[in-house]
Subunit: 344 residues, 2 copies
């Protein structure tokens, strides 16, 4: 069941089709039984519907079906009635990042219906990770969100699946593309307004970029990372923020003149071992050329994990975008189904 069918959701169904051999190899036969949108209607078919055709229809501007989007209780009822081996809710609605909704409610609707929930939204994990993780465990389902930070680059999966026993002591990263692009343009002499307009024309920045440039998006990602990797229990309002403003250009150029790069760095560190208390902030920092985060340019993101016993490990995304975010949902789908089998 897909809730939300915008660019990411549609890209996801295309990827599901392209990567079907990888699913078949794992004995997974996906069946899309419902698509719910806010403005393009809803479509249900328990026998499985042609999601690729539906994606083309919506991309072409058509509505999906005549059904109105169901209420949350209706959604739970519909999901629960599906006769499938494994129920999965794929959540990709437009997020109000200030509150994490409606994604959080959709996640809970999935749990209530005994469905695994996978989402590309950072809201649920930034605002309510601890509660949702507990509720998922109680419902015996998975709650996965690899796409919330750094698109499809495995960040949460890297720690969960490949670093058993490792303690993450802190994280620092460049996790917001708009501000990173803006700083790179300004250090080369482009004016703030010009760079922003160019990015909006290229579809990199939102029409209203305020959530990016004021550090809010990075703060939400910092809260998500801290909650999952550092056992914190914070929300984005607890993350100190610094904004990228037109006057920042001077600092960016001066830094470059000295062989350094001005970057908006998201940081979270455990205050004491075991308490779950963290210091978390998003601030402008001049990075030396030898810092692996300094080379992050254009569409790139990077995250450094300070760990024991592996020391500092950095994972860098050089190419980001919709297809990568869709892949995050795909890998979460495989994890949820595979893990669900292990349980039963």
């Amino acid at each position: 069941m897909l809730v939300g069918f915008g660019n990411v959701g549609r890209q996801f169904v295309h990827l599901l089709d392209e990567l079907s051999p990888a699913l078949a190899a794992r004995g997974i036969e996906p069946r899309v039984v419902g698509i719910v949108t806010r403005r393009h209607g809803a479509l249900f078919d328990e026998a499985g519907l042609d999601a690729v055709a539906a994606a083309r229809r919506v991309s072409g501007g058509s509505v999906l079906g005549s059904a109105a989007p169901p209420s949350l209780p209706d959604l739970v009822g519909r999901l629960r009635s599906q006769r499938v081996e494994t129920r999965v809710l794929v959540e990709t609605t437009t997020l109000d990042i200030r509150f994490g909704e409606p994604a959080i409610s959709h996640v809970r609707a999935g749990f209530a219906a005994g469905a695994h929930v996978i989402t590309a939204n950072k809201g649920p994990v930034a605002f309510a990770y601890r509660a949702l993780a507990r509720e998922a465990a109680a419902a015996g389902v998975s709650f996965l969100f690899e796409g919330a930070v750094m698109d499809g680059i495995p960040v949460f999966n890297l720690v969960r699946e490949t670093l058993p026993g490792v303690t993450v002591r802190g994280i620092r990263g460049i996790v917001n593309t708009t501000t990173n692009f803006l700083l790179s343009a300004m250090e080369r002499g482009e004016a703030y307004a010009d760079a922003l307009a160019r990015m909006q024309a290229e579809g990199i920045a939102e029409a209203d970029p305020s959530l990016d440039v004021d550090g809010w998006d990075a703060a939400a990602k910092t809260a998500a990372l801290a909650n999952v990797l550092l056992d914190a229990n914070i929300d984005p309002t607890r993350v100190r923020r610094e904004a990228v403003v037109p006057d920042t250009a001077g600092r960016a150029r001066a830094a470059l003149g000295q062989g350094r790069r001005l970057k908006l760095v998201a940081t979270a560190r455990r205050r004491d071992e075991g308490t779950g208390e963290v210091d978390a902030y998003v601030q402008l920092e001049e990075l030396a050329a030898s810092d692996p985060l300094a080379a992050t340019g254009g569409h790139g993101n990077a995250l450094e994990l300070d760990t024991w016993p592996l020391g500092r490990v950095v994972i860098t995304q050089r190419d980001g975008g919709l297809e990568q975010t869709a892949y995050a949902l795909f890998s979460d789908l495989i994890t949820a189904v595979t893990r669900g089998r292990g349980r039963s």
Copy 2:
């Protein structure tokens, strides 16, 4: 059963002790039933021996026990006779990197005894990956080698566990610490011989550094990466190599003067999709500052995976060493035991 008990093997038993809570949480109770060394004798106790005490004894210069190292058939017999839930052979012998031995023979001895084999040696995977993977599958055991490249940084695990369905089209990386350290020193004006002597004094470079500086170690790692990630079937002799020599200093300084870094880059790329044919080489390249590999300094290593659909993903190790290599064995141990349970 530990075969080889040098620095890495001894660090592994210390880590096994320190991380025992992480094992207990997974229901894993490790029991070291034998330690085989080439020069310090061997020790066996089916009830489980005190490996930490044994490590201290060997580190202090004492021999382990009066038993002579067993022949390969004896080793197989001893392993097979162990009454344990899961048999694991931990291989950390000194490698003859030109042939991959004796590690390859030890890996096969493990398979013959029905044991999972985990090794920090790159020889087996560089020289005989395809055959050994087939033999492991036939024996129903795991063959794992995360420590072969980039110490404990998850490279093979990253792809296997977190990137389902992803195609790796090519890899490029900085995978040899000695040459990377040497190039960094020479670009700052230090002479080749002085830098090498300093590294030998600090224990970074071998007494005979020729396998590092002539690119052989990097070539072996390139073969390992190509065999596992690109479905190749090559050995290190098939990897073209370039050496770091005293004259390289001039190139390194000139590159730095232009804001670039001269690095020994290991590359492997698929020639055509699906054939397993690859181009693989190790060569000196001047990298732009915007290249994430360029910032790799000191003890750092970095690997870029060119993938579909995730684009280019880089994983960087900022701190390398014995403890990291030991961690690779630890994570492989968890993978082998957990996976073995899934099978039964």
